[in-house]
């Protein structure tokens, strides 16, 4: 018998989920877990109803409102009746189809990509989809997880499968000791800067190397979360003891009597030693620094101790024109030191950086200091349970004393679908994932940073190299 060719982690998960494969057609791939939120699902449920189709596996879809939800005065409806209707529609669709729903008054409610792992719904080896591009977050557990559109949501609801072409493979290896003050957020911003905003298009990424292996599971989630920001739909880390320790005992994780068996199966989820990738990128972490974006794509970033670049010194005319447009929008001048840029608003939250380790890192900077005059700072935990944990640790008091607003869980100012919106011209330091034009409100200007650096910007009123604090 011929020896099996070596396979990547993605290959192994893919092969285990192929329902049907024929030449020249996409594979039909089985979906283990479908997460639904209020914004991208209503049209899918409606189309299903109109076609008189049923949800095939109500037990494999979990619903949660997160994008529109208010982060204060939660006993009241959302201030925008259109948002409120969207939240109510999710509630109705979950009830009508028998889906598990973490509703707005449930302590388990939160950002869909925070609560999946927190509840143990996210598990190694799974295929996980959601109508949200940051579904890549779940790849931190060795799951193949990616965002889909609403028509695909409808397809999953009706068939529990997706028609998919196998992506090309890409390895991103990060080695070296992270310098003090450099966080997983900085690692992923550095990767995006190196690979380019579309360097991963068409690929599924496997992260590896000592730096990634030594990262906490939450740190890996931050890295996998922003995989889509360089064009790759999925980013994975092979599961290890850290992963298993994180999951053990969580509500939806395998029961104790089958736990050992699950772990032994999960341990096989590794790329074979001789497997090859279509694309390999290696990055040295030891020379990394905190990063700040200056432009309107997540790839437009520099180290905090550098200056805003000069488009006139860029070789590629398309890149230079895009950089100039970005600087005009951001109202920045070439060669201005990053630490001279003042901020109006600080947002600590989003599926990228709203977990307990993120809040601890921000609180460490906020402790005993105060938000600078004229700056508004929001801390929005990723879930009701993260919020409860933070309060148990007294982080809410640290933030409160320092003048940060302590909010309830949701996507909030990451994409400004609720009341947490930048005013036109306002400039933010944000721990979220996208600095696109208008992302945090029409005319708003976003700089992406890590939680510690966002907190430091809040207390100084401008960017600062937190390593100096």
């Amino acid at each position: 018998m011929a020896e099996e060719p070596p396979r990547t982690l993605v290959d192994k998960i893919w092969d285990a989920h192929v329902v049907r494969t024929v030449p020249d057609e996409p594979d039909l791939l089985y979906v283990d877990l479908h997460l639904a939120h209020e914004v991208t699902s209503p049209q899918a449920f409606e189309a299903l109803r109109l076609a008189k189709r049923q949800v095939r596996r109500p037990d494999l879809t979990v619903a949660v409102p997160d994008h529109n939800v208010p982060t204060r005065n939660r006993h009241l409806p959302a201030s925008d009746p259109v948002s409120q209707k969207q939240i109510e529609t999710l509630r109705h669709n979950a009830r009508e189809n028998g889906l598990l729903l973490f509703d707005i008054d449930d302590v388990r409610q939160g950002i869909v990509h925070v609560i999946g792992p927190e509840q143990g719904l996210t598990q190694p080896g799974m295929v996980i989809v959601c109508g949200d591009s940051h579904t890549s977050t779940h790849g931190a557990f060795g799951a193949l997880a990616f965002g889909i559109g609403t028509s695909e949501v409808e397809h999953v609801l009706a068939t529990q499968t997706l028609q998919q072409r196998r992506p090309k493979s890409m390895a991103v290896r990060v080695d070296g000791d992270l310098p003090p003050g450099v966080t997983p957020k900085d690692v992923i911003l550095a990767i995006i800067n190196t690979v380019g905003v579309d360097g991963g298009t068409g690929h599924a990424v496997e992260y590896g190397g000592r730096t990634v292996e030594r990262m906490s599971v939450e740190g890996r989630m931050t890295v996998c979360n922003m995989t889509i920001e360089f064009g790759a739909r999925a980013g994975l880390v092979a599961p290890d003891d850290e992963t298993f320790a994180y999951l053990e005992g969580r509500p939806f994780a395998p029961d104790p009597e089958v736990w050992d068996e699950a772990v032994s199966l999960w341990r096989e989820l590794r790329t074979d030693p001789d497997a090859t990738f279509d694309k390999v990128v290696s990055i040295d972490a030891s020379c990394m620094a905190p990063y700040v974006t200056w432009g309107t794509t997540p790839a437009q970033s520099v180290r905090v101790d550098e200056a805003v670049p000069d488009p006139e010194k860029m070789d590629d005319p398309t890149e230079a024109a895009a950089a100039q447009r970005a600087l005009d929008y951001m109202s920045l001048e070439p060669d201005m030191p990053i630490t001279d840029i003042p901020v109006d608003v600080v947002f600590i939250g989003s599926c990228t950086n709203s977990r307990i380790e993120d809040l601890r890192a921000a609180a460490d900077v906020a402790r005993g200091r105060h938000v600078a005059p004229g700056v508004t700072a929001l801390v929005v935990p990723g879930s009701g349970l993260v919020r409860a944990q933070a309060e148990e640790e007294g982080l809410d008091e640290i933030f409160g004393e320092a003048g940060f607003e302590w909010r309830e869980a949701g996507c909030s100012m990451c994409l400004a679908m609720n009341d947490d919106v930048l005013a036109p011209g306002q400039r933010s330091a944000s721990t979220s994932n996208r600095n696109f034009q208008g992302r945090q409100g029409p005319g708003g200007r976003t700089h992406l940073v890590s939680p510690a650096r966002a907190a430091a910007a809040a207390v100084h009123g401008h960017f600062t190299d937190v390593r100096e604090i």
Partner: protein
């Protein structure tokens, strides 16, 4: 949902000479609170349209059904509202040097054809439509050709997507033919613990 079949289209083209047009620019999140699928065309490129010089405000491009844009078009979020807005506005084909993956899949499901051509070719088409807004481009999905003036370029397209677009096929109908294979997979899946949820949670 079934999609409108697409065989060949001849139309003027809207030139959008910039890379990395993200889905937030195509349609900002504040317009995604509705639960309907239609009516998003008025919000297409909402922020850019506030600039009177923006190409969509130029009456000479009114009624154009083709968009020609820079590389990495549609990057960012998975929102199908982006192709919904384009389709509602009247766009049926987009030509660019590259597209974001999720956006491209979403376009097929909305009945929009996405065509990748060389960067230089796209530049040429953008120049042509900028200097001569009425210049027509033909997107021929049956022959996999783009034609403009005397020029012809062939393009590659996913054979399955092409078939769906040519015939306007609903992807769910196609998959439901394989019910037996799905059920068989579910039986295999039930026998191991990989990928099973403990629903006692």
């Amino acid at each position: 949902m079934a999609i409108e079949a697409f065989k060949s289209l001849t139309s003027a083209a809207i030139p959008l000479d910039r890379p990395d047009i993200d889905t937030d620019q195509i349609i900002p999140a504040q317009y995604m609170k509705r639960i309907e699928r239609s009516g998003y065309g008025r919000y297409l490129f909402d922020a850019l349209r506030r600039d009177p010089d923006f190409v969509l405000n130029d009456a000479r491009y009114e009624g154009a059904k083709i968009l020609v844009a820079g590389r990495n078009f549609g990057c960012g979020s998975s929102r199908e509202h982006a192709p919904w807005a384009l389709e509602d506005y009247g766009i049926r084909a987009i030509i660019a040097p590259s597209f974001a993956d999720i956006f491209r899949n979403n376009c097929v499901n909305v009945g929009i054809v996405t065509i990748v051509l060389e960067e230089d070719t796209v530049k040429e088409l953008i120049e042509r439509s900028t200097t001569e807004p009425a210049a027509e481009i033909t997107v021929d999905l049956e022959r996999c050709e783009v034609r403009a003036g005397d020029d012809v370029w062939t393009f590659e397209v996913d054979a399955f997507h092409r078939e769906r677009l040519l015939k306007g096929l609903d992807h769910i109908d196609l998959t439901l033919q394989y019910e037996d294979a799905i059920a068989a997979h579910e039986r295999r899946r039930a026998r191991n613990h990989l990928g099973s949820l403990n629903h006692h949670g």
